[in-house]
């Protein structure tokens, strides 16, 4: 199982150059059954990452470009009257894909955002009183541009909380960019082929669930969370949903590193991505708050 994971990571690395950590994190997010928010400027490879990820895992993929006039039904789909059969017939929207890339999510109006976020949480869409289950695995990768906020609808804190992780891709290093320019990427990208089936992925997700989370590590997570609640340094404290998210992400991280138990290092590795967007209001990808927190909270032996 882990060999497959290693291969996946290797393949992804050859597509998205110099972004090993982000690739691992997004894979980890996927394994933890969470949704991913990528916050970065345009042209950083957000789409490439999403595309490669879905390809390699053998998942369906649909991209939705969010705009201010996008309506909820544009993404969920709607019931259409079939004149031939004289019946109403549900026509699924782009949400009914295993991997959905919601590009520039903050450009759409709150109503559309809510529809997406509701679907993310419930794993189903209700239209005209009828629930339509979304496919499994279901994975939303949303992106947003942290700058140029005019005319956008920034996600409220409560909705940011729905994303398991927020990561920033950042500029590639010089070597990687050189390789991109030399065209080594486009050739490699085509080579990406499915290494897993959706069934495999679901199995992996259940294995992640069975990773041992010892008392000691749980206490460490609680110490971290409690610190945000007691201290005045954090604009917002971490919710229980956040602690669950940390635990799940840590498990997935341990799984990626072929371990069947979580160590504090796993918690520390995923913590900034999981916690930063829940701690502060301001959009930032430096993860200063969570790094401070990590260096402050003592790990009991």
């Amino acid at each position: 199982m882990n060999q497959a994971l290693d291969q996946i990571i290797q393949q992804l690395n050859s597509v998205i150059l110099g972004k090993q950590q982000q690739i691992k994190l997004s894979l980890c997010c996927l394994l933890a059954k969470g949704h991913l928010l990528i916050e970065d400027l345009p042209g950083m490879g957000k789409t490439s990452l999403a595309h490669a990820l879905s390809n390699i895992l053998g998942l369906d993929y649909q991209r939705v470009q969010f705009t201010s006039d996008l309506l909820p039904s544009d993404i969920t789909g709607s019931t259409i009257f079939d004149p031939n059969k004289q019946t109403f017939h549900f026509h699924p929207g782009p949400l009914f894909n295993q991997v959905v890339l919601a590009d520039e999510i903050n450009r759409a109006g709150p109503k559309t955002q809510s529809a997406l976020l509701e679907a993310m949480e419930e794993q189903q869409v209700s239209i005209d009183g009828k629930s339509h289950a979304l496919p499994t695995p279901f994975f939303v990768i949303a992106t947003q541009n942290p700058m140029h906020q005019a005319g956008t609808f920034p996600l409220p804190e409560s909705q940011l909380d729905r994303f398991l992780m927020r990561i920033g891709l950042g500029y590639p290093d010089k070597e990687s960019e050189k390789a991109i320019l030399l065209g080594e990427i486009s050739a490699a990208a085509k080579k990406v082929s499915a290494l897993l089936t959706p069934a495999n992925l679901v199995e992996m997700q259940s294995l992640v669930n069975s990773v041992v989370l010892s008392n000691v590590v749980v206490e460490y997570i609680l110490d971290l969370v409690t610190e945000t609640r007691d201290s005045q340094d954090y604009p917002m404290a971490l919710s229980p949903r956040a602690s669950i998210a940390i635990a799940n992400a840590a498990k997935a991280w341990a799984f990626i590193h072929s371990r069947d138990y979580v160590i504090p290092d796993d918690v520390q590795a995923i913590f900034p991505s999981v916690a930063e967007h829940r701690l502060g209001i301001a959009s930032n990808t430096t993860n200063k708050l969570s790094h401070d927190l990590l260096s402050k909270v003592k790990i009991n032996p």
Partner: protein
């Protein structure tokens, strides 16, 4: 190499302090050479100055040895050996580069620090030696641990020293005090206000020292004046009064006087063999004998403070022919005026008692003055000069009186010792200083034996009570003589209080620590247990030390009182402690893996053990897999390897 400089400069500092402290005892030129060497060592450590080459070093060594022998000489062996040690260590310091060489220097420095005790044993010196130890242990720490800072090391050294103090106390109290295996050659450095030859006409004889001579515990019924007899001078050569050769003959049999007082003396270091006593007496110490004249004489003196008790004895009052001749003998053809004065008084007196009274009246009626700054009477007829000059101190009066008595045919002799003393605040003891040195006359009365005649008493009666420092009439002269010091500042209340306080402290130190000898120890042990046996003492020592160690252990455990249910955690704590000793502290928020990786960079040769430990520890603590016995053993071995196995 970085720490070597620090260690070297600390060692140089110790040598410098000891040399400066023994400045009085070692020659000035010698101390100057040591100072130069030390400056060189410091220059080597902190500037670009280089160490001497082999040739230069050898030449330097020869030059230093020559200076050593030329300035100190071989007559004072102890000084010579101490100086040799200082100089040798200093030279070695100059050329030492390897840790092993520096280590031997540091170890020798422990010995050097102790050498101070050969010369001084007071409380401040003890503290100074302790601080020298502190510096030296710090140096040792710095030497063995390159990453250590001076502050860190000195704190550890201080802790170590503090820890050793209770054990020191136990050993001090209970370890049998063995007699010395070998005896130090005596030092002749201690300043004493007394001299075996009294020549008052040479002004330099008057002591200018404000050092303590001894302390006495007097019974309350014993009243002033206190005449502390030390020496009897029977032979007069026209200038000075000397001790007869037979004076140190031991009195064969002495009878202790019933109801006689017993007085305890805590004596400071002294090179003089004659000891003060208030009367004809016998001391309880083995190396103090009573001479024919009833004085105390110390055989085999050493350069340490000592204490003794003396008790009054009966001395048979007979004057042998020999003694009579010796005590009336005068050089001929000098001091004719004094002889005629003696004859004149003799003509008026019909008994010896009357002669004494007439002489006393002669002094008080003719305007004689007691002064510490008399003119110099350097004539052949010095006594005649004094009688016409009428100014002098005790020596003049004692010498002149004895001369006049002898001129009149009455046996007389000069006795020197101390007069008076200063009581401590609570009248607990009497302190007698070197400046309290005094001389007086003893006259032979046929039916009463030797009777004291102190002409000073008629000239300056106040001198009989208290110490010279408390005499108001001559305060200015006294202060000029003593020079600046706490004694001369004693008119100012706060300085006087300070002086008395320091004095008190020093007394306690002398009485309780330096005075704790075989006898005192036996007494203490007797009080603690009924019958004293070596086995019992051994058991007490062992159990006290054991108790101390247990307390220490308990304290250590209490310090890390955060308890963990899981015993495996303590192995990690042990590693954390070990890393702390190496200067690596686990930070907050540092995971075990990161911490151990950091540690393995510090001790790369233990990387295998560390990684094995990390694997087992993580599996146990985080993986929820309880370790098997064999695995725990492996874990334990890993920790022990890291902690104790040294790199080969």
């Amino acid at each position: 190499m970085f720490n070597h400089d620090k260690v070297k400069s600390l060692s140089a500092l110790i040598i410098a302090i000891v040399s400066a402290l023994l400045f009085d005892d070692l020659a000035l030129f010698f101390v100057a050479t040591v100072a130069l060497l030390i400056v060189w060592v410091f220059a080597e450590c902190y500037t670009k100055a280089s160490a001497p080459t082999m040739v230069v070093a050898n030449i330097l060594a020869i030059a230093c040895t020559l200076t050593l022998f030329l300035t100190i000489g071989i007559s004072e062996l102890v000084n010579l050996f101490v100086a040799m040690l200082l100089q040798a260590n200093c030279l070695k310091l100059l050329i030492a580069t390897k840790p092993k060489q520096i280590k031997s220097i540091v170890l020798v420095n422990f010995f050097i620090a102790c050498c101070v005790f050969l010369f001084y044993q007071s409380l401040p010196v003890t503290f100074l030696v302790l601080s020298l130890f502190l510096i030296n242990i710090t140096a040792l720490y710095l030497l063995t641990n390159r990453k250590k800072l001076v502050r860190q090391s000195s704190v550890r050294a201080f802790k170590l020293l503090a820890l050793s103090l209770p054990i020191t106390c136990v050993l001090f109290l209970f370890l049998p005090k063995l007699p010395a295996f070998w005896r130090m050659p005596s030092l002749s450095s201690a300043q004493v206000g007394l001299s075996e030859s009294v020549n008052p006409f040479n002004i330099s004889d008057l002591t200018k020292s404000d050092k303590l001579a001894f302390r006495a515990l007097l019974p309350s019924n014993y009243q002033a004046p206190y005449y502390w007899r030390a020496m009897v001078h029977e032979e007069f050569d026209g200038k000075s009064w000397n001790i007869a050769k037979s004076a140190d003959n031991i009195l064969p049999f002495t009878q202790i006087k019933e109801y006689g007082n017993t007085i305890k003396i805590y004596h400071e270091q002294s090179s003089l063999k004659w000891l003060p006593s208030l009367f004809y007496s016998k001391a309880n110490a083995a190396n103090i004998v009573t001479t024919e004249n009833g004085n105390l004489y110390r055989v085999n003196p050493n350069n340490q403070k000592f204490s003794y008790e003396f008790t009054e004895i009966e001395l048979s009052q007979q004057l042998t022919n020999n003694q009579r001749v010796r005590n009336t003998r005068l050089p001929t053809e000098i001091n004719m005026a004094s002889i005629s004065l003696a004859n004149q008084l003799k003509a008026q007196a019909n008994s010896t008692e009357m002669f004494i009274n007439l002489l006393a009246r002669y002094y008080s009626d003719n305007g004689f003055i007691y002064t510490l700054k008399p003119p110099i009477y350097d004539d052949k007829n010095a006594i005649d000069q004094f009688i016409s000059g009428k100014e002098g101190f005790c020596g003049h009066y004692a010498s002149t009186s004895a001369f006049i008595f002898r001129a009149a045919g009455i046996p007389a002799r000069v006795v020197s010792g101390y007069l008076g003393g200063e009581f401590s605040e609570n009248n607990e003891y009497l302190s007698v200083y070197q400046y309290d040195a005094h001389a007086w006359t003893e006259v032979w009365l046929e039916n009463r034996g030797w009777v004291k005649f102190d002409a000073t008493a008629y000239v300056e009666p106040d001198r009989l009570n208290g110490s010279l420092s408390q005499l108001d009439n001559i305060r200015n002269e006294f202060e000029e003589n003593i020079g600046l010091g706490l004694t001369s500042l004693s008119q100012i209340a706060i300085f006087n209080k300070l002086r008395i306080y320091l004095e008190q402290l020093d007394y306690q130190w002398t009485a309780w620590v330096l005075g704790f000898d075989n006898t005192a120890q036996k007494k203490l042990l007797k009080e603690l247990m009924e019958d004293v046996s070596a086995l019992k003492i051994a058991i007490i020592i062992m159990s006290l030390i054991g108790l101390f160690l247990l307390t220490f252990l308990a304290l250590k455990l209490w310090q890390r009182r955060i308890r963990y249910d899981d015993p495996i955690v303590y192995y990690l704590l042990a590693l954390e402690n070990y890393a702390k000793g190496k200067g690596l502290i686990r930070k907050d928020g540092e995971t075990v893996e990161v911490f151990l990786t950091r540690l393995s960079e510090l001790i790369p040769h233990h990387k295998k053990d560390l990684m094995s430990f990390l694997m087992l520890y993580s599996r146990h603590r985080y993986g929820g897999k309880t370790l098997s016995k064999a695995q725990v053993k492996v874990l334990k071995r890993n920790v022990n390897n890291i902690k104790y196995k040294r790199q080969l």
